[in-house]
């Protein structure tokens, strides 16, 4: 049909073309919209997932930090409690020892016992020193008692060691002392402090494990007793 088209045919061809153009456009538009909706869903899901994951991590970290802080607080608590108990124990010991220090003041009341004690401590000290000439320092008011004790001590010393010794008594000890003697030998170079105060002091230290057991019970955590 190569003859030229008449008007109706032209019109119909026109309409067909217009319809075609429109149809193509609508299809393309639909494609675009469908794809847009897909992309919408994907993008939204991706963003939500990303962000919620980040938030979860954040709160997990926070939670752990809280846990750690709580544990630290607990531990600090327990420590503080232990320290307070130890402090209370220390207080008891202080009280004990200060009472002891008061009590030894009255040890010198019993004349006979005091005399025996003095003699004993003198011999004890002399046997350590093994000197021939020993000076005894005592309280001023004890001088005569100590002189008597020294006499007895001479004999006891000879008995035990077979050696002779000479004692000289001087009242140089402070009157605040609870009693006892200080032995001095070898030209004032050797000093043995055998006063009641010093003996108590040494005992305080040495008896601590025993005192601990008597006052506070045995230590459940201890394994070695030698």
């Amino acid at each position: 049909m190569s003859r030229p088209l008449n008007d109706d045919e032209v019109l119909s061809e026109m309409n067909k073309m217009v319809a075609f153009i429109k149809q193509e456009a609508l299809e393309k538009a639909r494609e675009i919209k469908v794809k847009a909706d897909e992309e919408f869903a994907i993008e939204k899901a991706k963003l939500v997932k990303q962000e919620t994951h980040a938030i979860d991590m954040l709160y997990e970290k926070k939670r752990k930090e809280t846990e750690v802080a709580q544990k630290i607080a607990q531990s600090a608590q327990i420590n503080k409690s232990r320290l307070r108990i130890l402090q209370a124990r220390e207080q008891c010991l202080q009280d004990l020892f200060s009472t002891a220090r008061e009590k030894i003041q009255s040890l010198s009341q019993d004349q006979d016992k005091y005399q025996a004690l003095l003699q004993g401590t003198v011999v004890e000290g002399a046997l350590r020193m093994l000197e021939e000439n020993v000076t005894l320092y005592s309280k001023k008011k004890d001088v005569s008692v100590v002189e008597t004790a020294a006499e007895g001590a001479k004999g006891q010393y000879k008995e035990i060691s077979g050696r002779t010794i000479i004692f000289s008594v001087e009242g140089e000890l402070s009157s605040e002392s609870a009693g006892g003697v200080v032995l001095i030998g070898n030209n004032k170079r050797i000093v043995i402090n055998n006063t009641l105060d010093e003996r108590l002091q040494l005992l305080e230290d040495k008896m601590l494990p025993e005192i601990r057991m008597d006052l506070f019970g045995i230590n459940e955590n201890r394994t070695f007793y030698n």
């Binding site: 032209v10 153009i21 456009a25 709580q70 108990i85 009590k103 040890l107 004890e124 506070f216």
Partner: protein, 120 residues
């Protein structure tokens, strides 16, 4: 004839224009959709975050409560132990004091074990 063809071309051009605007509208729809995705996602995330924050806060306050309780309990136990301690101390104090005083006065003078008594 040329009038007819130019009219035809005009019609076609208009059809093209309409088509282009339909497609353009679709493209705008797409852009809008992407924006919607972002804003909706952001809103959901906000919600989630708020929820998580509340969970965390309630956990924290529960912890704080239990810590306080624990503290009070530990303190009470400590006080108890200390008063127990003092009671036991008072009960044994005198016995221990006697022991100490006893040892202060106990003397046992002896020769050093490496030495021998001199026989005169």
């Amino acid at each position: 004839m040329s009038n007819q063809s130019s009219q035809g071309i005009q019609t076609l051009l208009e059809a093209e224009k309409d088509a282009a605007s339909v497609v353009q509208e679709a493209r705008q729809y797409r852009t809008q959709r992407l924006k919607d995705a972002r804003s909706q996602a952001s809103k959901e995330v906000e919600e989630y975050k708020k929820q998580k924050e509340e969970e965390f806060k309630s956990l924290e306050s529960k912890n704080a409560g239990s810590t306080e309780n624990l503290q009070a309990q530990v303190d009470k136990e400590t006080e108890q132990k200390i008063s127990e301690l003092k009671k036991v101390y008072e009960a044994h104090k005198d016995a221990v004091l006697d022991k100490i005083l006893d040892r202060v006065t106990k003397v046992n003078p002896e020769l050093h074990r490496n030495l021998r008594k001199l026989e005169s």
